[in-house]
């Protein structure tokens, strides 16, 4: 079985460079966006979670890392693993979810040499900003459209957002690589969108199943806003 890693979106060092004006703008632009996103996320997470921020965000980042290690079969006879952006956004909110994803990418690049250090900005933009932040707001829009407290809204919203977030993240990644001139734009766009169309299906199914499990056992983790959940896990709110 071929292991089709979702980290195909996880660019290594050297993929983006600054030798042409467009490539330089892409490289600097993604770094600027990523740093801005991290700064905003830190501010919002600190305001929402206060002194719970460090332990909760830390273990949730470890959760995403651990969840990415679990493989499952995807169509075309390959296996993939969860990217987790939409799941993190749905369960923790857009700011905490994006922060958790950014921390995961930082740790993977600096401590485990997985994904490049110089392209960390682009990786955070693709999978944190587009994948998690964008995924969350798409999920929220669909949920609001169908009915905020209806389970079909949550399920449909999460599944669609899961698929779209993976495909959109791969589109952004392909555009960055193609416009930088590393690989032919048409080739990388076709390959990335084709494969991530299938990978996104796996992401949607797993996100949906994981949320269904959480809903059955702890519905407040989905229906309550993160700031109202204090003390839930310690049993104070049943």
């Amino acid at each position: 079985m071929i292991r089709c890693s979702l980290l195909a979106m996880h660019m290594p060092d050297g993929y983006l460079h600054a030798t042409t004006p467009i490539a330089g703008m892409i490289w600097l632009g993604t770094w600027g966006l990523a740093l801005g996103l991290i700064a905003l996320c830190l501010k919002r997470v600190q305001a929402t979670y206060d002194d719970r921020a460090v332990p909760l965000m830390g273990v949730c980042a470890a959760f995403i890392f651990a969840a990415q290690m679990i493989n499952f079969p995807i169509p075309m006879g390959t296996s993939g693993h969860l990217l987790g952006g939409t799941l993190a956004g749905v369960l923790l909110g857009p700011w905490a979810g994006s922060l958790v994803m950014a921390v995961v990418f930082l740790v993977q690049a600096l401590f485990f040499q997985d994904g490049g250090l110089t392209v960390l900005g682009a990786n955070i933009v693709n999978m944190g900003l587009v994948g998690t932040f964008g995924g969350y707001y798409l999920y929220k829009g669909i949920r609001r459209l169908i009915g905020r407290d209806r389970w079909t809204g949550v399920m449909l919203g999460a599944a669609i957002a899961g698929w779209v977030s993976v495909v959109m993240a791969s589109l952004f990644c392909a555009l960055q690589i193609g416009l930088s001139g590393t690989v032919d734009l048409g080739l990388v766009l076709g390959a990335m969108l084709f494969w991530h169309g299938f990978i996104g299906l796996g992401e949607a199914v797993i996100t949906l199943l994981a949320l269904d499990y959480v809903r059955r056992l702890r519905p407040e983790l989905i229906y309550k806003a993160p700031r109202d959940r204090s003390g839930v896990a310690s049993g104070e709110m049943g």
Partner: protein, 256 residues
Amino acid sequence: MILPGASPISTWIPFRRERGAQPWMRVLCATIAVFAIALAPQQQGWQLTIIGLGLLLLCGLSSVSALHILRRLTVELGFGLMLVLGTLFREQGDLLWQWSGLKIYQGGLLLFCSLASKVLLSLIALNLLTLTTSQVELLQALKQLKIPPLLVAIVGSMLRYLAVLLEEAQTLQRAAQSRNLLLSRLVHRRVVGMMIGSLFIRTYDRGDRIHQAMLSRGYSGLVAEKIPIRWTKPDIGLITYTIGVSLVSMGVEKVL
């Protein structure tokens, strides 16, 4: 073999666990090196060769065994090369090789070699850093380099509980395997979904328990901590060496 403290030269050897450059300087220099490698124009053979030689010299002088680095590189490079493999089939220049629908052109081969060298050299630089610097030292270094304390604290918290969460995920997988739940593809996906849901609930509860434990030990939020930066001989040696090698490599590329 140079032992720490054996000669005055050893005090200038930067990448040693004992008496080497300080962790913050190692992080800074590894970052400079990786940026110099990654941002080098494509197909700049001499520039990358000289940086590579500079890194090899550092590896030789460091306290890390070559076998250890090679073992890690074998795994990491495999993933890296898989990702840059697509560039090999770029249609540019003379056709060098053809088999069935696969064609390799001169331009594609050069680009692949350039990207593969960049991936390899970046991995060597970062491996050298992580093999000579513990996680605690790396976190301390990030604080000294003015990374936001909340971000460093979250990274520290993640690293602390990573092994626990990974073990929990493996336990869940083992339990599902022992019940033959992962045989059918359809059931496999359902079980993985439930596993991840269950792992999240355990994680969230654990986060709250950790928070309670921290409060009981008197934790009341992050305390601003100022760690002064002071320069030592190995620090000056390492930064001079890093910038020197980067500049020389660029100069040689221009001359040749």
